[in-house]
């Protein structure tokens, strides 16, 4: 599809992603978009928060990945995706990136720890509501996250889960498939019934987005 005129709200990429001009995508080289994904205005994606802790696998060949997003995802207005980070204790000091500020280096000397981000992986058909902040480690397919949620660090959300509006999912929480989660802190409040499964398909939604 050809690029729309400049006036349009969305830029459509070759793989069919519709990215709002008013979104903030930082570190684009570290972000993978699977295609047909909609990114609305004021969405922030932090691709710059890269992993500094070298992984055992030989991942470092190509571009390092900070955020990986599948197909037919929908990021509503004002949501923020940031890779989770934590302190790795007992790690070698000289592996610190030289760019890190000196005060941080000092601290790290004292505690002998490094701070590193971890990639954020989002599968297909994931809907993220407006104003939601996501710091999860993994979000499975067909997950719907409501408005104004906070998804804590390293949370794992499995397929077909639904997070209700205003939920605070605590860090490290695992949300099993077919769960409905709500509350602060979030807890499983119900189950997604068999009939609702089809409703998680976001293809229609994708088609509905246009300039």
């Amino acid at each position: 599809m050809s690029k729309k005129p400049v006036k349009g709200e969305y830029i459509e990429t070759d793989t069919g992603n519709k990215v709002s001009r008013r979104s903030q995508i930082i570190g684009t080289t570290n972000i993978i978009l699977g295609g047909k994904t909609v990114i609305q205005a004021e969405v922030i994606i932090r691709g710059d928060l890269l992993r500094t802790y070298p992984s055992s696998s030989s991942e470092g060949k190509g571009n390092p990945v900070a955020v990986a997003i599948g197909r037919y995802c929908f990021f509503s207005r004002g949501c923020e995706l940031r890779p989770p980070g934590k302190m790795y204790k007992g790690y070698l000091l000289f592996l610190l990136p030289s760019s890190s500020p000196s005060y941080l280096q000092h601290e790290l000397m004292v505690f002998g720890s490094t701070f590193s981000h971890y990639p954020l992986k989002i599968a297909d058909h994931v809907l993220i509501g407006p104003g939601t902040i996501v710091e999860a480690a993994l979000i499975g397919s067909h997950v719907s996250i409501g408005a104004g949620c906070v998804i804590g660090k390293f949370a794992i959300i499995k397929d077909y889960a639904r997070v209700l509006d205003g939920t605070v999912v605590p860090p490290n929480m695992v949300i099993p498939s077919f769960s409905v989660v709500g509350g602060r802190p979030g807890r499983v409040v119900g189950e997604v019934s068999e009939g609702e499964v089809d409703g998680f398909d976001l293809r229609e939604v994708y088609r509905g987005v246009g300039n």
Partner: protein, 585 residues
Amino acid sequence: MSTFTPYTYFQCPCTDSSPPVRNIGSDSPTSIHSSSSEDEKAFDPRAPRANYSLYPLEHLLYCEDCHQIRCPRCVLDEIVTYYCPNCLFEVPSSTVKSEGTRCTRSCFQCPICIAPLSVSSLEAPPEGLGAEHASQGGPYVLNCPHCSWSSKEIGIQFDKPNGIFTQLSKIKNGGDPVITARERRKDREERSRDSAPGPVTDEDGVQDETVVKLDPNEVLDAESQFSNLKAFYQAQLAEASPANALGFSGGDYGYGSPGALSRIMGLYTGGTYADKKSKAKKGTMREAQNAFEGLKIVAPNSEDALIAKLQNEGWDATSSSLQRDEQSTHTPFISDLRPIAYLLRTKRSKRCKTCRHILSKPEAKIQTTRFRIRLVALNYIPSISIKPLQPLLSTQLQAPLVPMKPTQFLLTFKNPLFESVKVNIATPAQTPGRFASKITILCPQFEVGANTDAWEEALRDGSKGVEREKRRTKAEASEGQLQAEAGKVWERGRNWVSVVVEVIPASLKPSPDFLKTEAQRKLAEEGGEDDRVREDEDVVEIPVFVRVEWEADTGGEDGGLGKEKEGREKRELAYWCVLGVGRIG
């Protein structure tokens, strides 16, 4: 005013027998069709019981053998797999039986805020070169990343970072070791051996220097009291059981054998005085005598310390009732709370209660989300969506309904079947309840075209937008003087039809007496007539009776596509729906 989203709920016919709901479908659907008293027996969505039979379409299943809607109340659940929702490990049902329904690995919830706890080391990590990946030494604690609670607060630390469940079961709050059931058993054996030669009446305490020192007046916690009691009763039963004498030690056989049974029943019946005497000779089961046997005598001052603590530490030291609910024992104080092991979850299959056919069956594996069988009502009965006919500006979206001003809504019926269906809809002229809104369906009878293959739909991807476009222009063109014609379908698509329903919302002020219906007058007479609008009474809910007719293949499954159409059969389905269209402003 809170926003209002229009909704459609379907009534499952399984609640037919309940009084406020009329009998539909299950026995003879045709008779209902012809019945003229439709209005009188109309389903009342405000009836107290109505709530229990109304479901969104997505929650309903459909039984292909009964040709009927099935709701969560008329299906049977069968557990396929147990698993821990935190570590997602499957737990075999035998383990569930023996270990209980909680995760026995290291999955715990915070007793304060129920967030998941994570294990972390207390010790500062080893420093210097070569210390990487060096195992961090203990002690370990459970930390809550949400509310910063730590198991250190209740004096619990662990030696190893894994197998927390087993470790925790051995530590009391405060760090003292729990005397395990096994140690208790050992102690018991020890004692019984010592006391065997002597008379039973011999008080314990003398032989207390056994493996573990147990105090006969020990203050037992609930778990050890239970295990002590159990052991005591078991010993009593075994003693009374002749099977044991024959060498069957314990086990089910010993208790279940007919010979033992009369003795077991001694536990219950005791018998009359005469009975007791005769039984005493055989050795009736006696009562527990001390803490070893699970007897817990209340010391007169036992609760003084509790009260003193309550007084000194006040409100903040006590646990809230929500926190207590999660605990297995009584925990008046925050310091009594223990980390909560995750409750297991299940994958369940569902069966029709009447014909026992499986309606839904998930794959047994936890990681997969597929279903082997999934008969959802969504694929069998037309879905109904509601939207106002007047295109609304985004600012006045979900504006409240204006009393007495006719408002038109579009009901869109979408057919999921691969046959075209005939739809009849009917409503009472007025909504039930104190505030009766008037309802008129402009086109109560129509036909909805067949659904097509998903592939076809995918291929028609592009044309869809055009269709939408068309609809929009139509709406815009006639804006202002929208005039729905009676008896005609408003709009029609490949497998959907929109019809117009007109609602004249009632005024929320009590209507003057001459306008009141009989029922309302009666209600007023019965007293309790208060003019205040009760909760959600301002929502206009329209009961709609829907009857769907279609022709389907006999024998073969409904909607089996591409099959030869031999032997067509007429099917019909009738049910009540409730449409929530809006709030009266």
